[in-house]
Symmetry: C2
Subunit: 396 residues, 2 copies
């Protein structure tokens, strides 16, 4: 045995009590989360979360992983082998799509029409992509012609875009874009954070090569996991990399050995979050995608009709409007933040504020997953009707 | 409004039922996890996990974040301002220490004495460090003299090492290393994954500049969060970076704006995991670090005495042995994997196998957090006594 210095007794150090604050048991309230997310989780998902953990290499966990993968494929309508929940939030899964496929100097074209497009551009730059962007005002979408012109001009290796832009409430029409990407030999990377499980997504039909989402919106699970999927064309780009993926935690070539048939240890999976995810996806499969999509659409329309009745104006024209997330213009003379704080503190209801160029200009109302229910719509509309006038006059 | 192609009805696509598997409700068993982690979570931590989520920008969540930060400082015995739980597992926090401080070409010296030292070296290389290593056999630790000689020879910007090596069960004596790092003007980065909350850690006294840990061992929480801390010298290195941190999700300069006084949105925090973390840290503060440390030591000694009585040999000499994780040599002629599978399938008890060069040679027995209790030790020893002989003879 090598000689080592003897370990001193703890007594050599003085234990500091400086940061030992005394707290009572946790006592968070039951909020109704009608903002951009997190949304409320389904009660049986919360029950699943609180089960006793099992080991991440336990045969029963391996089986559960397979179930989660299979049901994610259903939710996304994809056959992609590499479909897994990343052990982080949706932003980690977003970063994983770029980290694995971008090599230094690759051109990445980002179609920016809101906050999350900007984030994609920021992330791609960190992986040393040559980043180009095309932009639309916040509240609009891209036409096929605009996409084609940009592909022709930039000839990117990857086109990255957002299906459901959470910052604006716009749904990007996807028909034809995948075909263009094949034609111009580039990968199509799609953000489905605010669409998965809630509005129609046909990943394989749309010829999407890389996509990511989150757990806390259409899937009715708390935040903490980032569904990720990668098709064969993206896999080929990963396999042809010259160097290691410059991100160990999100390296799909390593994760593949854990989620694949080898089950090689990579990191300790967040098993309880995956208990919740399994239950959330089970509920979605039980309801059926077509029913879940129809429910989200019906409750969104109920909201839109109610807002119109109250003279409140959605920021996005109806044909591009997301059923999951509605941006509502804050009326002239109203302190939007004061009203949403009032909803939160007096009624326990969270409604989001604007992000980026829409900060202070809109509220963001989410009706996602478990929360997409008529009674939630009616409760919120009643409060807008009864209590907004006071804020209107007070500020006027 | 810009012209956009009309959104086609869902009917243009055929919904595939291929991956719509039908599952029953989740039914995982109540395992006793006595492997290298995850360990069982405390029951009130599991209750906290299943609370209704609140928003990540909710004033009540902001308050909870402050509590988690403060109690992490207590657990680590540090005053570091930048002390936060990363929204990923311990491996994400590990990567965060390197991602934020390594600039291309920086020399990083890794002291490797097991699997997790190798991982640090792999990760550092991905951030384009010039990586140098010193090595000790798996089961041994470094002397101060070895560390000093390597610092003198390599003159690294960062020395990275593992306090409690989960792959071997060795505790690295830390006295004097921080002083050497100051003398040689390098940052000291320490893995405290299998030590935080369970064995003495005095981060500031030891002059550690960067550290990380996990939620699922000494803290009695399920896996999914990675405590991270950064002292003033590491903060200065981050502030002096020429380029952006090449990892968006783990970029502390962005996270700082969310966890700091600005509360600028970065990513949607895993709020339920943080509910659990808050409860886990509250329990630790209630027990008191000195009591938690004494409990882990007492139960480990109970295990060691019992193993000796059974003629089973720990892999690590007692003076370097971790109270949290004991590597036990698999006796000649025993199929170690068959016995641990038997424990799992017949008794619902998980014990770990060896990693890397110790694969097939040791079992890894963890007594961590909520699981560090005399009755667990006795139950396991009884099973070793009663049921190991059958595996011994069967294989002989």
């Amino acid at each position: 045995m090598v000689s080592t210095p003897a370990r001193p007794p703890v007594g050599d150090h003085q234990l500091s009590e400086a940061h030992r604050c005394t707290l009572g048991p946790i006592a968070t309230p039951d909020r109704l989360l009608l903002g951009p997310g997190p949304s409320n989780a389904h009660p049986t998902v919360l029950q699943a979360l609180s089960r006793t953990p099992i080991g991440h290499l336990d045969p029963l966990y391996v089986e559960l992983m397979g179930e989660v993968q299979e049901l994610l494929r259903y939710a996304w309508q994809t056959d992609n082998r590499l479909t897994i929940p990343m052990s982080g939030t949706g932003s980690a899964a977003m970063e994983a799509t770029l980290a694995n496929t971008v090599e230094p100097g690759d051109k990445v074209l980002v179609a920016v029409k809101g906050y999350f497009g900007l984030r994609l551009a920021d992330m791609a730059g960190r992986y040393r992509a040559e980043v180009a962007t095309i932009e639309r005002p916040w509240g609009e979408a891209f036409t096929l012609e605009e996409i084609e012109a940009a592909l022709q001009h930039h000839r990117p290796a990857i086109l990255a875009m957002v299906h459901a832009e959470t910052s604006t409430g716009v749904c990007q029409p996807m028909e034809g874009i995948g075909e263009l990407c094949r034609q111009y030999d580039c990968l199509l990377l799609l953000d489905t954070v605010t669409s998965l499980g809630a509005i129609p997504v046909f990943l394989d039909d749309w010829k999407v090569d890389l996509a990511y989402s989150c757990s806390q919106k259409g899937l009715s699970c708390p935040p903490g996991l980032g569904p990720f999927t990668m098709g064969p064309r993206a896999e080929a780009k990963l396999a042809a990399r010259r160097d290691k993926v410059p991100n160990w935690y999100l390296d799909v070539s390593l994760l593949n050995q854990y989620w694949g048939s080898n089950r090689v240890y990579h990191h300790t999976a967040p098993v309880n979050m995956n208990f919740g995810m399994r239950e959330a996806l089970r509920l979605l499969a039980e309801e059926g995608l077509e029913n879940a999509w129809a429910r989200h659409r019906a409750n969104a329309e109920r909201l839109w009709i109610g807002l119109e009745r109250l003279g409140l104006e959605p920021h996005v024209p109806e044909e591009l409007r997301l059923p999951t997330l509605t941006t509502v213009r804050i009326p002239e003379g109203v302190d939007g933040k004061a009203f949403s704080l009032h909803l939160l503190n007096t009624h326990g209801i969270e409604v989001g504020g604007g992000l980026g160029v829409l900060a202070g200009k809109v509220w963001r109302i989410g009706l996602m997953g478990f929360n997409s229910r008529a009674e939630n719509v009616d409760r919120l509309l009643d409060l807008f009707e009864a209590e907004l006038p006071a804020f209107r006059s007070a500020a006027a």
